[in-house]
Symmetry: C3
Subunit: 120 residues, 3 copies
């Protein structure tokens, strides 16, 4: 906890994925909401097959989903969401002629049925 998922469409060819994940994790740590940086587990997946709407115009998106153990206030969640979106908005340059959408979702994980362990 927390888990961050970033999906990005394959036409966003300038995206430096690993650097982006590190920046997102840094923002999460700076929020003061998480006790240990070690707990933040983030991954990025490139989407080779996608469709935005019903048009064939060049479009793309980045979708971030942050999964938290249940219990945080709506205000905290909204702030986290906006601070992650700010990182995405700062990721220029974007490909010429591609309409890009950025989104951040926060979701709760059921605290009572979440199990974890660290090895080594």
């Amino acid at each position: 906890m927390p888990h961050l998922h970033l999906e990005y469409t394959a036409n966003l060819t300038d995206l430096t994925v690993d650097k982006t994940l590190l920046r997102l994790n840094n923002v999460l740590m700076a929020s003061g909401q998480f006790g240990s940086e070690f707990d933040i587990k983030s991954r990025a997946v490139k989407l080779e097959h996608f469709q935005v709407g019903t048009s064939l115009n060049p479009r793309g998106f980045i979708a971030v989903k942050l999964s938290l153990l249940s219990g945080r206030s709506p205000q905290v969640k909204q702030q986290l969401s906006e601070s992650l979106l700010a990182v995405l908005q700062d990721l220029s340059p974007w490909p010429e002629g591609v309409q890009v959408q950025l989104s951040v979702e926060l979701r709760d994980m059921d605290r009572d049925a979440y199990s974890k362990v660290a090895i080594g």
Copy 2:
């Protein structure tokens, strides 16, 4: 909003993925539930590693997950789910000898902590 995820097992070799996403998006627009086609963001992921049950018989599946901002009625969600499943059921031909399962899940996204922006 909405986000659609389609997962399909790699043994469904006849699946025309991009066309399927476009058909799903068209059905979502035709539902009248979404203001702008531009908002519908869909992606498909091929599953190279999967296991259905505990048998080694040839099996496969397509799993669709539609994520909506919270607030729609159970009836609307059930209708959306069934109309997406109807698209999947119409995707023949299926590989000879493979038992295929199709499923559609609808889930809510927390409206208060969802952030988005469009660029370009």
Copy 3:
């Protein structure tokens, strides 16, 4: 139902993915919670891009998410979570020098808006 997602970081090179999925499915069947082994649909995805925390130390993780139709008790869900984690903990050997985290999340799927069909 149920759906199981396993994500693993690409630096866990000794992981036998297909065997792991079969073991997880066997544990789910042994729980007595599911009527038919055929219903258990599991997949594994390798993560090529990931970041654990804000350090560049070698780290990795396996994250399992089990999605169930809503209605099971917290006790049942906790037991399922722990029994899946036990499978992960038994997956040695782990790569030398990599800090590995294992986690299992359980989530409910909205029973009223879940549609499925089996073909062939």
